[in-house]
């Protein structure tokens, strides 16, 4: 700790004020929540400032780090002694390194654009002050999560984003479905929190600390069992936060929240916290191959499940949510591959954060235009009325399917290539996932913007205001060009932080893996085009295709969880309740009535008559004197 402090003192002064990254949005949230309706007018302005100021700071930090030597880029900024106990302590310290600064930039950069977009999107909402306050709370918590230098502090942010997510999913509390979705998200995330908590507890018992440095340093001497347990508990945490099978069910329901929330929290940032956790814990997973393998398998399954669900849903936001699941699966696979994939996981994470935010905001713009409609079957031909949205959406579309030279192309192809190197099965699964991605995105694209218009006469679609279009355009451009910018640079940048392999990554490289991937994408696009190029009926009939029905039903996983966990839980609860009523309560009542009866008997002695009391005193005296006399006499 001491040496790290010295490093912090030698580091440029900009690091010393890095706590402002967290403090500013937190302060904005507090002000907006506490001041009340007086702040309604300045809420959007303050909200944007709460995330734009940290963005400026983060950019400054990045520039500073670029100017530093590779060895002095990672800085631990110790703020204060959080808690101390016998044999150690936990300091409240921020770890600013190559990994966390990228996350900070993603969160604040995409966050700023989404906040600006929200100024238009939420302009007419009476609760927009609360909205911006909670969004700032989320930003602060998310920054705590990625800047923490220990698992314990990370856990604080982890819970904070969970809380903010809960509050924002249920932002429109008057909708029962929103309240239920918020509750579901919170409950499912609690399962994952339990895993993280167990891992932290294990760290404290094993290493006496939860600092990343300390844990990584002492991992090698921890035997063979501890890393496996830690790996699986951390995986459980990541599963819930990053919506991986089987803890993914909350993410589709979470689309009940406002669309900017879906874009920021449930696509770009919070759901990637699980990936961050796994990449950050690379030292643990390196020693636990079984856990890494499980990560890969779970990721691959999730890619497939997400894509399947995405291909069958009619709700535009749910398609995008399923797509998020699927893309997070790619990240999981990459993170599970270990050193060969870790950097690409982060790369694809950043790319996905940008293009998925773009897609969600585009979907939000469509909904805004059509009066909140989310059913793609009643869209169609919107390219005519929403030209800018359509254009920006097209950029995101190209990026997500992995069209060459876009950001998704670079990041995803690297993952697919790494997977093929790992094992053929994984590679094929990822390629199939890529094909399915292209299929459902093409379906979404065609159904929404092309074909005949299927909306009602009283719906008058209109292009969104410029404050909403501007972020869309920026994000669209970033979706197209971000890959080229990051491709060659990111591996070397991240290497000191996460220990990944650095492999050559030229801009154009024709290997058989990339050809397979491109072939799969082409196949998906073509299939989609063939299926959905025809004008859709205005009132489409219900499908009878069992695959589609299964996907629309989310593969029955909700029902399975209901039957396997929720119902037995209810039964257990009522059984415990019965025990409480008939055994414990009856026992306690019995004790009470016994005491009552005994005291009723004793009450007779307390007649209130002074002479009986005196009699008792005299008899007692006689007994005492008798004892004394007998004692002396004997």
């Amino acid at each position: 700790m001491l040496s790290l402090d010295i490093i912090a003192m030698q580091a440029p002064v900009i690091f010393q004020v890095s706590w402002l990254l967290i403090a500013v949005p937190l302060l904005v949230a507090a002000v907006l929540l506490l001041v009340g309706d007086h702040a309604n007018g300045v809420a959007p302005l303050l909200g944007v400032a709460g995330v734009a100021i940290p963005l400026g700071l983060a950019v400054t930090l990045l520039v500073t780090m670029l100017n530093l030597g590779e060895q002095s880029r990672a800085v631990t900024v110790s703020l204060y002694e959080w808690m101390s106990f016998v044999g150690g302590g936990v300091s409240f310290a921020l770890l600013i390194d190559q990994l966390s600064i990228l996350f900070v930039l993603l969160i604040t950069g995409v966050g700023t654009l989404i906040f600006i977009y929200s100024c238009g999107y939420m302009a007419d909402d009476p609760g927009r002050r609360r909205f911006f306050a909670l969004m700032n709370l989320f930003i602060a918590a998310m920054l705590v999560l990625v800047l923490a230098d220990s698992y314990l502090l990370l856990f604080v942010g982890w819970e904070g984003v969970g809380l903010a997510s809960y509050l924002l999913i249920g932002f429109w509390q008057h909708k029962v479905s929103a309240s239920l979705a918020a509750k579901k998200a919170f409950m499912v995330n609690k399962v994952g929190d339990l895993g993280l908590f167990a891992a932290i507890a294990l760290m404290f018992t094993q290493f006496g600390s939860s600092d990343f440095h300390a844990v990584n340093a002492r991992m090698d001497s921890s035997g063979s069992v501890v890393p496996v347990i830690m790996g699986f508990t951390l995986l459980l945490a990541a599963l819930a936060k990053s919506a991986q099978v089987p803890l993914h069910t909350w993410l589709l329901d979470a689309m009940e929240g406002p669309t900017p929330v879906s874009a920021l929290i449930h696509a770009a940032t919070m759901v990637t916290a699980g990936i961050y956790l796994i990449v950050r814990s690379h030292a643990i997973f390196a020693l636990a191959p079984s856990a890494s393998l499980t990560v890969t398998i779970v990721g691959a399954v999730t890619i497939f499940v997400g894509a399947w669900i995405g291909a069958t849903k009619d709700d535009i936001k749910k398609v995008l949510a399923a797509s998020t699941m699927s893309q997070l699966g790619y990240l999981m696979v990459a993170a599970g591959l270990g050193p060969v994939g870790a950097a690409f996981a982060i790369f694809h994470l950043l790319a996905h954060g940008v293009f998925k935010a773009n897609l969600f905001l585009g979907a939000g713009s469509v909904m805004h235009a059509t009066g909140g409609e989310t059913d793609m079957r009643v869209f169609g031909r919107l390219r005519r009325v929403l030209p800018w949205t359509c254009l920006a959406f097209f950029c995101g579309y190209l990026a997500i399917i992995g069209f060459p030279l876009t950001s998704g192309f670079y990041s995803k192809d690297h993952i697919i290539a790494a997977a093929f190197e790992q094992s053929m099965v994984t590679g094929v699964a990822l390629a199939v996932g890529a094909a399915l991605t292209a299929l459902y995105m093409t379906r979404l694209w065609l159904l929404t913007f092309f074909g005949a218009s299927r909306w009602d006469e009283d719906v008058k679609p209109h292009e969104s205001s410029s404050i909403m279009v501007f972020p869309l355009v920026i994000l669209g451009l970033a979706s197209l060009g971000g890959g080229v910018a990051l491709n060659a640079w990111i591996q070397g940048w991240l290497q000191p932080a996460i220990g990944n392999d650095v492999i050559a990554a030229p801009l154009i490289e024709l290997t058989w893996q990339s050809e397979v991937a491109f072939g799969a994408v082409t196949l998906g696009v073509l299939t989609g085009w063939l299926l959905y190029r025809r004008p859709l009926a205005v009132q489409p009939s219900a499908t009878t295709n069992p695959l589609v029905r299964a996907g629309a039903n989310e593969l029955g996983l909700n029902q399975a969880i209901d039957a396997l966990i929720v119902r037995p839980g209810w039964a257990l609860t009522s059984a415990v309740g019965a025990v409480e009523t008939h055994v414990i309560e009856a026992g306690i009542d019995g004790i009470g009535s016994c005491a009552t009866r005994a005291s009723q008997q004793l009450h007779r002695m307390q007649g209130g008559n002074v002479r009986s009391y005196a009699g008792v005193v005299v008899i007692g005296t006689v007994i005492v004197v008798a004892a004394l006399v007998i004692g002396i006499w004997l």
Partner: protein
Amino acid sequence: MTSEYLILSAVLFCIGVGGVLIRRNPLVIFMSIELMLNAANLALVTFARARGDLGGQAGAFFVMVCAAAEVVVGLAIIVTVFRSKRSIDIDDMTLLSGAPGAEGGSLA
């Protein structure tokens, strides 16, 4: 002679105890208590002579002081109770039992 004095003292003390137990008039109960105090005084004075130590007599003197103070306060209490209850039967003074209707009359 010492033993005889002490036995007399014990007998007096026990008579006092009996008075406290059987009488219902607090005045007489107080007299019985005085009787017990005097019995103790007799024992103290007897021991003083037996041991050749005036400490016993000094103790008896202090007992007298205490008895005087006690009588003053106790009788004032009796007068107060009589003023509010119009009765001094000790069996009527059962407020401490807390049972409803235990009090013979209202103290108000």
